[in-house]
Amino acid sequence: MSDVADRVKKIVVEHLGVDAEKVVDNANFIDDLGADSLDTVELVMAFEEEFNVEIPDDAAETIVTVGDAVKFLEKNAA
């Protein structure tokens, strides 16, 4: 597992209060991990913070699973 994936999963566990084993690549933040629309906004903010990157709103809309976030950040994070 990549370093990016580890950091993403840690953030998801902290913010959504879910068990780490549920935070798998194809887990959907809303459908599988119990997030609401506000939670997803805050998650994106936390990713921006952790990876020191700006995630524009149109890109944020495409990040719906844990794997989406990992992929985006591996590609775009400094």
Partner: protein, 420 residues
């Protein structure tokens, strides 16, 4: 109008989390005041406050995790967590867990706060200035709004009836209970979860209230002596934090399900000073009129009141004006009246004060004992009224009145009667 009774109690105070845990310490003349912990106070005029004892939840300590999931706590200011605790305690005490759609729709929430999420607003302001608007959390607004205490409680307990809130400074808790009782009396709900909550202890609030010259500043080295209502050395209030919530219920509804009934809400009065933003009217007229309105609504004579839980904040002006207004209300019956200020023990809980003090008034009736006014060494004026100095006192209390007066000249009085 329909009769309204109290069937559940809950509170978080600077003495303890829990009604009985707090009450036993009140009766033991314990004080919850201390030097402020948790942030820098060296440059503040007032460096004392009555803070909630935090812990694992044992021995009356407050453990937020018992009342709200950590991931939810993170989103809100503490006043919402305190409200969740007090409301859950009160509903458990009442044994009311509505599960049918009809019962849920007949059960509402009316919890207020004086200044709500002022601590979170302060923190977010710093974030905005230092790091810009993109760093403001989507939970910033919903976690600071005062009516979100009612919102969170309704979601947690499935209460789909009236969802309302009150913001009347230090009268909030009393207005919330009074207004909620009216909703039941008029048939808008059968059960209301009502009260006040406050988490004001931070640098900004202490600086602001000190600038109003409202806080005690002469007892920074002797915190438990700072709140001293009616005493000649009083110099302002000691800030407290916490929540008080009651379950109010239509009388027949409570009787039908065999609920324990603590007391009946028989009177509620409101008035405005129309005088000054922070000072009470010079002749105590506003206080007099709201007590008179509550007594009239109760259909009793003032001489029937056995105990008054005073607003009595320990400010130089306010205490004596309230006392004069009470003397005027009860007239020749002053000699049989006991009146105390429990703010001497727990400080001033601002928007939560009226609710917590209503509960103390109800417990005084239940137990036949009136709580003390601590630190009342030398009363600043003479009165025939028993101000219950230092020690709690056995006394049969059948009718109790609780006063709250707030900035803006907003006043509320509640009258409770024992139900035999």
């Amino acid at each position: 109008m329909r009769r309204v009774v109290v069937t559940g109690l809950g509170m978080v105070t600077p003495l303890a989390c829990g009604v009985e845990e707090t009450w036993s310490q009140i009766l033991d003349s314990k004080s919850g005041a201390n030097k402020v912990e948790g942030f820098e106070t060296d440059d503040l005029a007032c460096r004392i406050a009555a803070q909630i004892p935090l812990g694992d939840g044992s021995n009356g300590t407050f453990n937020a995790d018992q009342w709200m999931e950590p991931k939810e706590q993170r989103k809100v200011d503490p006043f919402i967590v305190y409200a969740m605790s007090a409301a859950t305690q009160a509903l458990n005490d009442a044994g009311w867990k509505p599960t049918t759609y009809e019962d849920q729709c007949a059960s509402g929430v009316l919890i207020g706060s004086g200044i709500g999420g002022i601590g979170g607003i302060y923190d977010a302001s710093l974030t905005l200035i230092e790091r810009g608007p993109r760093r403001i959390s989507p939970f910033f607004i919903p976690g600071r709004l005062i009516n979100l205490a009612s919102g969170y409680v309704s979601i947690e307990h499935g209460l789909k009836g009236p969802n309302h809130s009150v913001v009347t400074a230090c009268s909030t808790g009393s207005h919330a209970i009074g207004d909620a009782a009216r909703l039941i009396a008029l048939g808008d709900a059968d059960v209301m979860v009502a009260g006040g909550t406050e988490s004001p202890i931070n640098r900004l609030s202490l600086a602001g209230f000190a600038a109003c010259r409202a806080l005690s500043t002469n007892f920074n080295d002797d915190p438990t002596r700072g709140s001293r209502p009616y005493d000649k050395d009083r110099d302002g209030f000691v800030m407290g934090e916490g929540a008080g919530v009651v379950v109010l219920e239509e009388y027949e509804h409570a009787k039908a399900r065999g609920a324990k009934i603590y007391a009946e809400v028989i009177g509620y009065g409101l008035s405005g000073d129309a005088y000054h933003i922070t000072s009470p009217s010079e002749d105590g007229d506003g206080a007099y009129r709201c007590m008179a309105a509550a007594i009239k609504r109760a259909g009793i004579s003032a001489s029937e009141i056995d105990y008054i839980n005073a607003h009595g904040t320990s400010t130089p002006l306010g205490d004596e004006l309230e006392l004069k207004a009470v003397e005027r209300i009860v007239g020749n019956a002053a000699g049989k009246l006991s009146m105390s200020s429990t703010k001497s023990a727990i400080g001033h809980l601002l928007g939560a004060a009226g609710a917590v003090e209503a509960i103390f008034s109800i417990l005084a009736m239940r137990d036949g004992i009136v709580p003390p006014t601590l630190n009342l060494d030398n009363p600043s004026v003479e009165t025939a009224i028993d101000l219950v100095p230092h020690k709690a006192k056995r006394k049969e209390v059948n009718v109790a009145l609780s006063n709250s007066f707030g900035f803006g000249g907003t006043n509320a009085s509640l009258v409770f009667r024992r139900v035999s």
